[in-house]
Amino acid sequence: MTTAMSLFFVFTADEEDTVIDSDGRQERAKEKERKKERDRKRRRNVARRASSARKEGKELEDRPGREERRGRKKRDKEGKGKGGEDERQEEVKNDTVAKTQKNFSNENTRKLEQKEIEVVGEEDGDTEEKRKNGRPEKGGKKEDNGRGETVEKKQKKKRVETSAEHESSEEEEDEEEKVGEEKPEVLSPEELEKLKEEVDERKKLISTLRGKPWPMRKKLLTLRESHEFVEKYEGALGKGKSRKLYAYKVMMLKKWMKFQRDFENFKTACVPWEMKIKEIESHFGSSVASYFIFLRWMYGINMILFGLTFGLVMVPEALMGRPYGSMPRKTVPRADEANAMDFAVLWDFGGYAQYSVLFYGYYNSQRAIGWLKFRMPLSYFLVGVGTVAYSYMVVIRTMARNANEDGGGDNNSFNFSWKMFTSWDYLIGNPETADNKFASITTSFKEAILEEQESRKDDNIHLTRFLRVLANFLVLCCLAGSGYLIYFVVRRSQKFALEGLESHSWWERNEVNMVMSLLGMFCPMLFDVISALENYHPRIALQWQLGRIFALFLGNLYTFIIALMDEINLKREEEEVLKLNMTIWEASLYNGTMGANSTAPPITVHPADIPRGPCWETMVGQEFVRLIVSDTMTTYITLLIGDFLRAVLVRFLNYCWCWDLEAGFPSYSEFDVSGNVLGLIFNQGMIWMGAFYAPCLPALNVLRLHVSMYLQCWAVMCCNVPQERVFKASGSNNFYMAMLLVILFLSTLPAIYTIVTIPPSFDCGPFSGKSRMFDVIQETLESDFPAWFGKVFSYASNPGLVLPFLLLMVLAIYYLQSTSKSYKQANLELKKKLQTQNEENKKKTKMAALKAAMDLEEAQKARSEAPRQQRKNNASQQSYTGEKNTVTGHLVSSFVFVYPPAPRGHRIPGPLPGNQWQPAPSVQRVPNSQRHRV
């Protein structure tokens, strides 16, 4: 604070004004009764002067001065409040008191003057100066300044300020008396307008202040000053009743702003794991942190999906639907009852888990359930659709925002500069990471230089090409092989399933998932080895690698789905057979009871005994849930073995090993950002695919993400080392998002296909009994909406209307795309224009400089000749004009050289005796003036 205050004193050249303010106020408090009349007059004056001063546009120069003044005053007040801040403060107060006494006498004269001012009007600047000149300190300064015009204006302005302050302070004091009688005549509309503008300007300043690269002290002062200004004048803006309204509005606005700020604070406080991520960021740089941010984002999405399915599907069915055991689809069949509670079965999501709200089959097709008349099937369908729609919306919106942030920067016109200016990751706080970063920056510089050199000559292109083709061929082989393996395994598992699972070992039962997980683990390593052949730039290599892993996962997933489709068809055949058997079974049952007694009591068979269909939907859901679980398990186990165990071994075996384990071969593992992100993306794809048939999937995924957040944070911090190639994350951010979008699309495809084309099972799920799942919409339209609505809907879904609409959308997309293209083109054009203009400017300045130099030479020549002639003529005159002409001659000559080609003789009244030293200043002057004229 001490330094701050001392700085103030350096700055505040116009303390006097402040003093006048404060003691003026005191004075006023004493002479309240005299004041009113004078006030009214002065206020009129003030407004006029304020507007005129504003017209002159002096605010900018004036502001700093005012700032300091206000700032100081405020600090004064604070100082009084806090007490004992420092000695400087005391000094200020003493100062003020002293000046108060001094100026007390001035006060009377000033009052007189104010009346004068009213009469004289515009002359007030002078009177003020007279007053000021009366004071000893100020008088000296003023004379130094030579009574320049600017000073005068400033003074005027300050006067305006001071009196304006009085005005407002009085307004506060006796508002009640004056309202209604004085205000309306005080400010004319245009003055009001100007005041308003000023206030708005201040408000804008306040809101943009944080974006100004000023030191905090300056910002603080400006803020306080502007706040005070706004507070003061905002009140004066309205009249009469509207004034109160205005004040109220302003107050509400302030409250609202404060609320918004608090809300922002609250929001940031609510973001989970912020500190954890920051900590990782500081150790490993932004790329690793970007994975965790992505994970958190995923978690958020899954939370919402979970909320949808849990709140609108699972809970209503569990609470309001018919209870467990009331009907066949909600009961474990008799054959499975014995071991339905075994852990092995539950872990496989069979038994009781299968016949619960977790899966599709449990839901009843009753149209409305409970006292709420909740439309269960409709809700089920809409939640399924909404899940997908919401995911699309979020992903696309995020992508658009990312793209905006990228700003469509042109790819590598500033390649080197970006490397130079933006390559340091300011988040790195770990020396080891910093060392890695240094190394990577150096290599990137070297690479860039080499690339620049090699961009002209590229030798041995054939070998590289051959190697790249070979690498791609190998990768394709890998992909095909893995695809076949999965297909084979799935078919085998179907065979096993037909034979009955009990007769097979654990491996045979879990073969599919295990094979998929293992492939996902080892194939990327293989790709990594293969990509060494290609000799790509690391960044490009990374993208290839990501693309390949993506293809692998996708291929595996689709093989899995195709196999699943086969299974669905099998189940449906089974179902057909069962339907036939069912009628026979019913008939036999009926006949049996008929035979026993003819009164025919209602047939009561326990739901567990009723034969039922295979319910392919539940089967699909189960498959996906199992896949997710096994995937999660593999991830965790690889984390524990690959990272933790390895780190422990390396750490502790290092004491008794023949080579350095930490630096040598096994070393610690790095955090594999791309692999982890891909894993996350695929996991999410499976969730989207399976969520329709297993409403529990989002819940499971939330659990998984939650656990992996903590587990991976811990693993990263305790057993990973920073990457050797620390690359920035944000560049590839949209790359990941694009992948997510592709996955979303590809995973909704099969789900939608099954929903639309395959008829639902006849005895399980919310859509049983309908020929297609989406018939539920039709049903709702018919029974729950008025007839005309159904009609409108049927018209709207008419192909004749839908097709033109689609066409329109396509056209709109085409239009938007072409406009964006043209914008890009225009951007490029503008850039080119800018460049050419720059070049032209450069040329022009060069030309101008050349021309000026030539002119200068000419002028010098002319000048050296001219005096020679003149000297002959005026040799006698020189003796008596000597001293004077040196000065004027120099002055004039500098004028002359503004127009070098003009003949000198016309302008120079006398001879130029100071010729010997004149060329020096004019040499500097000529090019300058030339440049201005160009």
Binding site: R210, L220, G409, F414, N415, G429, I441, T442, I449, S730
Partner: protein, 190 residues
């Protein structure tokens, strides 16, 4: 937390919030960290000397740490010591939500090693040396350095006066895809 809040004062806190890109929690946290830096022997000092600021784990391995202190310091002695307000300025400029404009402004000043308002060859060379670290094997050879600097000037020096000025710098920076996100600094708290 409560003690820091009372130390800072409610008005001041809200003013700081209005003037920086930091949230309330962050300001309080910053105050905590700052007073921890002060706490040892010099409670009554108004500014923290540069050595102490440099010992912050966030800045410890930053090659520009001294420049950062000098740029944000408002002390008269030019010793790079930071008052709390300077410290807040620093954190605000480095926070996630700061605008590109302010970031590029301060980045320029950090890179401008001789404080003359332009980035000339000398500045760029120092900058490269900062970025490539201290060890010998990561340094560039003079030939590479010359090539690099001439490349950079070729790209960014639009008016071809041999130096990069602020507006040229901002122009280049604003095109960069990873500048905005790259600078945030508010890491460990424990």
């Amino acid at each position: 937390m409560g003690t820091t809040a009372s130390q800072l004062g409610k008005d001041l806190l809200s003013e700081y919030q209005e003037l920086t890109f930091l949230t309330k929690q962050e300001i309080l946290l910053a105050h905590k960290r700052y007073s921890e830096l002060l706490s040892k022997e010099d409670r009554n000092l108004t500014s923290v000397p540069m050595e102490k600021v440099l010992s912050l784990p966030e800045l410890k391995s930053n090659p520009f740490r001294k420049r950062i202190c000098h740029v944000f310091s408002t002390s008269d002695m030019k010793d790079g010591s930071l008052t709390f307000e300077d410290f807040l300025d620093l954190l605000s400029a480095f926070s996630d939500s700061a605008t590109l404009e302010i970031k590029s402004h301060y980045a320029f000043r950090i890179f401008d090693f001789d404080d003359d308002g332009t980035l000339d060859g000398g500045d760029l060379e120092k900058l490269v040396n900062c970025l490539t670290g201290k060890t010998e094997d990561t340094r560039l050879t003079p030939e590479e350095m010359r090539q690099l600097i001439s490349n950079i000037l070729e790209e960014s020096d639009i008016d071809k006066d041999g130096t990069v000025n602020l507006s040229e710098f901002q122009h280049v920076i604003s095109r960069s895809p990873d500048f905005v996100r790259a600078k945030s600094l508010f890491c460990r708290t424990a």
